[in-house]
Amino acid sequence: MSTTAKTVKEAVTIKFAGDSGDGMQLTGTLFTDNTALAGSDLATFPDYPAEIRAPAGTLAGVSGFQLHFGSTKIFTPGDHFDVLVAMNAAALKSNLGQIKEGGTIIANSDGFDKRNLRLAKYEDKANPIEDGTLEGYQVFEMSVTKLTRECLKESPLGVKDRDRCKNMFVLGFLLWRYSRDMESVINYLTAKFGKKPDVLEANIKVLKAGYHYGETTETFTTTYEVKAAALEKGTYRSIMGNQALCYGLITAANKSGLDLFYGSYPITPASDILHTFAAQKHFSVKTFQAEDEIAAMCSTLGAAYGGDLAVTGTSGPGLALKGEALGLAMILELPMVVINVQRGGPSTGLPTKTEQADLLMAMYGRNGESPLPVIAPRSPSDAFEVGYEAARIALQHMIPVVILSDGYIANGAEPWKIPKAEDIPEIEVSFAKARETDDPFLPYDRDENLVRPWAIPGTPTLAHRIGGLEKEDKTGNVSYDPANHEYMVKTRAARVEKIADFIPEQSIEMGPESGDVLVLGWGSTFGVIQSIVNELLAEGKSVSHAHVRYLNPFPRNLEEVLRKFDRIVVPEINNGQLSKIIRDHFLIDVIQYNKIQGIPITHAELKSFVEGVI
């Protein structure tokens, strides 16, 4: 039994940082699962290097995983770290700036040899651990590599495989430090390496070594505990944004009794959507890796014509390419879902970074009058509902729906209270039926919601032609008639407006219904806005938070909601795009807060900005 004191903490942020090869993503994920089991609320954020495998030991090669967990509600992965795990010099250097004052640094001293220091560009190879650079921090040096090798000296594994275990040492140590047991990790390892007993044994051995290293080494005098958070009862899992989006869409397909077609061309950060769907073929999911984004879009509208729940996904440059074909999809009035996982732009931009700068393109990036519904998830788990919602709107209104996610949501993970399949409503879909009569079928004859029939090729008596030329009302025949054109343009706009009758009204997420300041957000800024508004309210400030999921059409009551506040702050990870749309729609001025750095808005910077506005 250990003699160390135990301190209870409300919330902790840990950053695991090391070389791409050091397995920090896995370490972080396993610690996260364990944390979740312990009942904390949490949020995570991985940041991968831009290159596939940047040279080992270099700054470009640093891979990180950030975890923020606590006994209170956790909204973001956190601005600054209480603890930094630095497996080598580069990892330390590239994260030093974000450690809290007096924060803890756990450094693998074996990662600070001459070579590593040189690669990390430490001038004349001065070791920051020794030269006082880290003054003011609590630094724990551990010779992780040596210790790992030491405890595996009997292992039949080769050196390379042995060294691979070193992340388990760190993990074990942290589990001890935060008063956890090792069970969940051991289960994982057993499931993964069951067939490789040597590897399994080695990993567990090192894990335990790390754990006991904490217990036994006198240097470490305190351990910590973060109590369970008051989360809603239920069964939880951790889920990532791209994954949640796929599950939402598969659920929609299942609930509408349709096959799901996914036509896509790989692109960061959307590729995982293709990978996830490709693994779910037993849900009648058909994936098609097209030759480019234009083919992806066109195959998707082809599949929609054919009667599938058709989905395509891409990122900014890909959506730009899809513009023309998306215009065709729009005029054809076929149901489909178009996912755009936004990344840093313009052009190729910052492929591995996050941004919200494709909103205007999603709204206006097509020739002619070509409005489409646009909706955006606000967090990784929210993407599940948004995926389902997009499909529902597409199918019930015979219209392509654009989903605007982003890299931060796509790769972020958070706990998710798992819904029961039976609790999720069915989606009514009825294909047009064969007719008795001989008079011509009218593919553009609309119902009271301006929705045309979905007539699937192969259905008797419904043969009809559609295309990209302006079409006559009802018959869908090509028409150059001036009045008809205006009527159809207005009708296509009205179709989008009509959707507002079938979506929830805009709600205030937090704070009073009216007052001085409303912070109005969309997409992945949800977490940070929640956290600052939460604090400001606690400090007795008059501030509220509204978050727009339905960007087109807006909820009917949005204007009303906005007019109840004196000042409206719109934080965006772009140069002010929602702001433009709000001004245009309501002639209401807004106060923009724009950060365009490829990274999320931090709690601190947004809070001080909003404080300045109150």
Binding site: S299, I418, G458
Partner: protein
């Protein structure tokens, strides 16, 4: 495809495949004949109108779907192959006929054509080659001969042309054929063979644009000259041509040689016997008018018919099988299982 139309009436006539829309091609356009042959062949094959989809891109040729009383889509320029791919995946039982032009299919649409050919979806592709951009009023196209003077090339075009059938072979097409608007019988025959082929059938159809490129194929359509300028390939038959088959083609190694049967004293046994299954000989056929080695401008007749055909699994069948295999292995997807995943925890 049943021989009985959906509404229980007996088999259809060609005109039953026509829509009520006025056909908007120029009087005299070769497209009229192609439309007629397609409708005729569909009637002969007894295709069910409701189980046929005609998909096109943009161009005069691509107006085709509007005139076919079947399902159809007039999509966007060059993208029909991609639309077809998605439709065929969603709806593998459809008989899909794709119509494109030399600009639609080989200029803006070349990449999609390449990829549908190699994937080998079971569709029939009809490429109307008039060696010009018709709809945009007469610019040269990728199949126009070099030095062609058009609105966009008043001093003559500079681009060395695309050889559609050589391109198709290079793209691993499983069916490569050529016909023309002015030979209804042959065109009908080729349309039937395309339909019979399981896989992507690529049929180039010489089509006269009498407004912007009139007479481009005159040598092959004109009564007086066609017999000696064209050769009609038949599998297993010696390569004979000319009004009374007075000419033949034999192979000296890799070099095709045109001989006069009588004057040069040859018999059919001396000739090259056409083999639809031989991709290398097919390559030679595609270059009868485009052989870089034919420096001395040796004359060869233009081959019509099926230059090459082979069998290969179709993409949609492989996909259907994979979905089935997944279900056999994992059972039909169970939502709760999917949503729950492998690692969960309880908040009590």
């Amino acid at each position: 495809m049943s021989a009985i139309s959906s509404n229980g009436k007996p088999s259809l006539k060609a005109k039953d495949y026509a829509t009520d829309q006025d056909v908007r091609w120029c009087p005299g356009c070769g497209d009229y004949s192609i439309l007629k042959q397609v409708q005729t062949v569909m009637a002969q094959l007894g295709l069910n109108k409701d189980e046929v989809a005609v998909i096109s891109g943009i161009g005069c040729s691509s107006r085709f779907p509007y005139y076919m009383e079947t399902y159809g889509m007039h999509s966007i320029h060059g993208r029909a192959p991609a639309v077809v791919s998605g439709l065929k995946v969603a709806n593998p039982d459809l008989s899909i006929w794709m119509v494109t032009g030399d600009g639609d299919g080989l200029s803006i649409g070349g990449n999609h054509l390449l990829h549908i050919l190699r994937r080998n979806f079971d569709v029939n592709i009809l490429l109307f080659n008039n060696q010009i951009y018709g709809l945009t009023k007469g610019q040269y196209s990728p199949t126009s001969e070099q030095q062609k003077r058009t609105k966009s090339t008043p001093m003559g075009s500079l681009d060395y042309p695309v050889n559609p059938l050589a391109f198709a072979l290079g793209a691993n097409s499983t069916f490569v054929a050529r016909s023309m608007d002015r030979d209804p019988k042959h065109l009908q025959e080729m349309l039937k063979r395309s339909h019979a082929h399981k896989g992507t059938a690529f049929l180039e159809i010489y089509q006269n644009c009498n407004i912007f490129n009139d007479g481009a194929f005159f040598p092959f359509t004109d009564k007086a000259t066609k017999k000696v300028n064209g050769i009609f390939l038949e599998h297993g038959q010696p390569m004979l041509f000319g009004g009374e088959n007075e000419y033949g083609i034999k192979l000296d190694g890799f070099k095709p040689v045109v001989v006069h049967m009588e004057n040069d004293g040859y018999s059919a046994d001396d000739l090259w016997v056409h083999d639809e299954g031989d991709i290398f000989k097919a390559q030679i056929l595609t270059r009868f008018f485009d052989d870089p080695n034919n420096k001395d401008g040796q004359f060869y007749p233009r081959p019509f018919g099926i230059l090459y055909q082979t069998e290969r699994p179709c993409y949609e069948d492989l996909l259907v099988a994979q979905v089935q295999e997944a279900k056999d292995r994992k059972g039909d997807g169970d939502l709760d299982k999917l949503l729950t995943g492998n690692s969960t925890w309880e908040i009590a």
